[in-house]
């Protein structure tokens, strides 16, 4: 009997699909990936398909038509609502970033050993339901609300103001607060990545605190700012809950119009066309914002 020395038994061949690490990785994530793909793509496809059809009372006429888009783009009410939604979501995004940047900056540069704790504290409001947070803004901004009471108490106003709630500003305030965390985190990450020696180098070359912020820190954190803007802008365009609860008549946004078409209006194709239009417009706006910011950052010398 001979004994083979130094030779390992051959490992059973793996199925061809799993031979390389890359393929194994793909196989590992494919269930989730397929699930996400189907759940994302299917509804979008359904919406896109509907947008080219026509509602005839209870049934849907499946002949191709662009009528819905014509209405969505030319009907003044939809144009106005879309414009208003866009302007509002852009305002929310810019305001959020403007307010989030100093917070992120403070945590990153002056947080010291409390960085993790501070980040943790910032996420706390997000623990409660979104609805509850919107409702609490109603309590703050309302006629007998916290803000009015405080202003009355300090004698700044003589009678409660109705200017705080049920208008665009209320939507702006509520959304800015709700999305603050999502803006702080990406900006914080990009600030953390800024090599502190670069800031020292800037000051070595003669720049004071403001100039070195504008010439080094800010341009290097543009990716974080862009991420924050997009993360806030895109979901807020289609926000439905906040305008509904605190927006009043002025605060109505495109999502409300879409809702009406899918429910009371019973015109799914028009609702679908409005949705698709909104998606396209927000994509274009977001991409232009990114381009504009990159360009602006490139101009800083």
């Amino acid at each position: 009997m001979t004994v083979a020395i130094g030779r390992r038994p051959a490992t059973p061949a793996r199925p061809g699909l799993l031979r390389t690490e890359q393929r194994q990785g793909l196989a590992l994530m494919s269930p989730t990936f397929l699930f996400a793909l189907v759940m994302l793509a299917a509804p979008i496809l359904v919406v896109i398909a509907h947008s080219f059809w026509t509602q005839t009372y209870l049934t849907i006429d499946r002949t191709f038509t662009l009528d819905n888009y014509r209405i969505a783009l030319t009907e003044p009410i939809y144009r106005d609502l879309l414009m208003r939604s866009l302007i509002l979501s852009m305002s929310v995004a810019f305001l959020t970033v403007l307010l989030a940047y100093p917070v992120a900056y403070y945590i990153s540069f002056h947080g010291g050993r409390y960085k993790s704790l501070l980040l943790f504290l910032i996420t706390i409001p997000a623990w409660t339901s979104y609805l509850l947070r919107v409702m609490s803004w109603k309590v703050i901004l309302g006629y007998n609300g916290v803000l009015n009471t405080a202003l009355l108490g300090t004698g700044i106003i003589d009678e409660p103001s109705t200017a705080f709630l049920y208008n665009t500003n209320a939507v702006l305030i509520t959304l800015t607060h709700a999305w603050a965390v999502f803006a702080i985190l990406p900006i914080y990450v990009s600030l953390e990545k800024v090599d502190r020696t670069l800031i020292e180098a800037a000051s070595d070359l003669g720049d004071g605190p403001i100039r070195r912020f504008l010439r080094v820190t800010l341009p290097l954190t543009v990716p974080g700012i862009i991420a924050a803007l997009i993360i806030v802008m895109i979901p807020t365009v289609g926000d439905y809950v906040t305008p509904r609860l605190v927006g009043g008549k002025d605060g109505v946004m495109i999502a409300s119009a879409i809702e009406v078409q899918f429910k009371r209006g019973a015109n799914w194709p028009l609702g679908a066309a409005l949705s698709v239009t909104t998606m396209i417009v927000i994509t274009v706006v977001a991409v232009s914002c990114v381009g504009l910011l990159r360009w602006a950052a490139g101009r800083i010398r």
Partner: protein, 362 residues
């Protein structure tokens, strides 16, 4: 006033909590000098450099640059520029914009600005690289950009924080020569921080050797190498044979000692001579001991047995046991006469000059 020091460091101490990063350091650096702060990591050399540049503040003591006290003056208003260890090249700017960074604030005439940028890039042999992005440069090129960016500001003092440590050996040696040449050409005072003794010896006019937050010795490279004040300095700068000796007599400038092996020796008093106790350490560098071949004789010689040998290409280290001495001597011999062929166990004679023997303070 040509005799006024460019940098005057007076009793500077820097403490972090209970840790003394720098302990009562005093130093005077001359205008146009290439000065090195040499020491192991944690000796306080970088702390001192950063305090000169304005990136750290002394806990006590004063720093004066060109006659001007630096207390409360931030980095951006000091007449110094720094080449950072990581180079700190702005990644969002190209080479030219990096070099122009500090000039922008001066609001120069565009033609003048252009001229100064080109001049600085030429000084570091980077002409034509202006439009490259920082991310497209090699380590050596990044180092040159950092140098150009600082030089273009025409500082009174250029601070270099281990600028060559990230480069490979060959490039490092080339840059040592270039830096030295550049410094002579521009005439700016250079203060270099390094832990590499060869770098310090090769480039500096003077060196301050630091240990544990204290300045142990300040001297020209040759003096610091040949006449180290204590064992620590001697050891840090290269191989040294330490020989125990007993004090026999002393006068104002010299001491006479009785050594094992080397007999009675008279040598200059070390700088920090305490004069206490009878025991003295005498040192001699391994390369100051020379192998005697065949019938060759010398005025001062020792004989012993080779107990170990280490081959280093152009040189061989021989470890030689000398009868009557408690520790063997290290002898470095170049291999041009065949020192690499001397076997372990061989009886050899070695020659030395008594003036190569140096007394140390501890």
């Amino acid at each position: 006033m040509p005799d006024r020091p460019m940098i005057e460091i007076a009793s500077v101490t820097r403490t972090y909590g209970k840790f003394n990063a720098l302990d009562d350091a005093s130093l005077s650096i001359r205008p146009g000098e290439f000065f090195s702060l040499l020491g192991p990591s944690g000796c306080g050399k970088t702390t001192l450099l950063r305090m000169i540049g304005g990136f750290d503040t002394p806990t006590s003591g004063t720093i004066t640059i060109d006659g001007q006290p630096m207390l409360g003056i931030p980095a951006n208003r000091r007449p110094t520029n720094m080449v950072f260890q990581s180079y700190a090249i702005f990644p969002h700017l190209d080479v030219e914009q990096n070099v122009a960074y500090g000039l922008k604030r001066l609001r120069l005439d565009p033609a003048e600005e252009r001229r100064r940028i080109d001049e600085a890039l030429a000084q570091v042999s980077l002409a034509g690289f202006g439009k490259r992005r920082a991310t497209e440069l090699s380590g050596g090129q990044r180092q040159r950009v950092a140098l150009a960016r600082a030089l273009v500001m025409r500082p009174k003092v250029l601070l270099l924080d281990e600028p060559l440590s990230a480069l490979d050996k060959k490039l490092r040696e080339q840059m040592q020569v270039e830096l030295r040449t550049l410094q002579k050409a521009v005439g700016i005072t250079f203060v270099l921080v390094t832990h590499d003794q060869y770098e310090a010896l090769a480039m500096s006019d003077r060196i301050a050797v630091m240990f544990g937050g204290r300045i142990a010795q300040v001297a020209a490279p040759k003096d610091i190498y040949q006449r180290p004040v204590n064992r620590q300095v001697a050891d840090f700068l290269g191989g040294m044979n330490f020989i125990q000796a007993a004090l026999v007599g002393e006068n104002g400038t010299a001491i006479e000692v009785e050594t094992m092996g080397f007999g009675r020796v008279t040598t200059p008093k070390p700088a920090q001579w305490s004069g206490k106790g009878g025991a003295v350490t005498i040192g001699i560098r391994p390369e100051r001991l020379r192998v005697l071949w065949d019938q060759e004789t010398a005025r001062h010689e020792l004989s012993g047995t080779v107990v170990d040998r280490h081959y280093f290409g152009e040189i061989t280290h021989l470890v030689v046991a000398i009868p009557g001495m408690d520790a063997p001597l290290s002898v470095t011999e170049t291999n041009d006469f065949g020192a690499d062929d001397i076997p372990v166990g061989a009886q050899i004679r070695i020659a030395y000059e008594p003036d190569a023997l140096v007394a140390m303070a501890d």
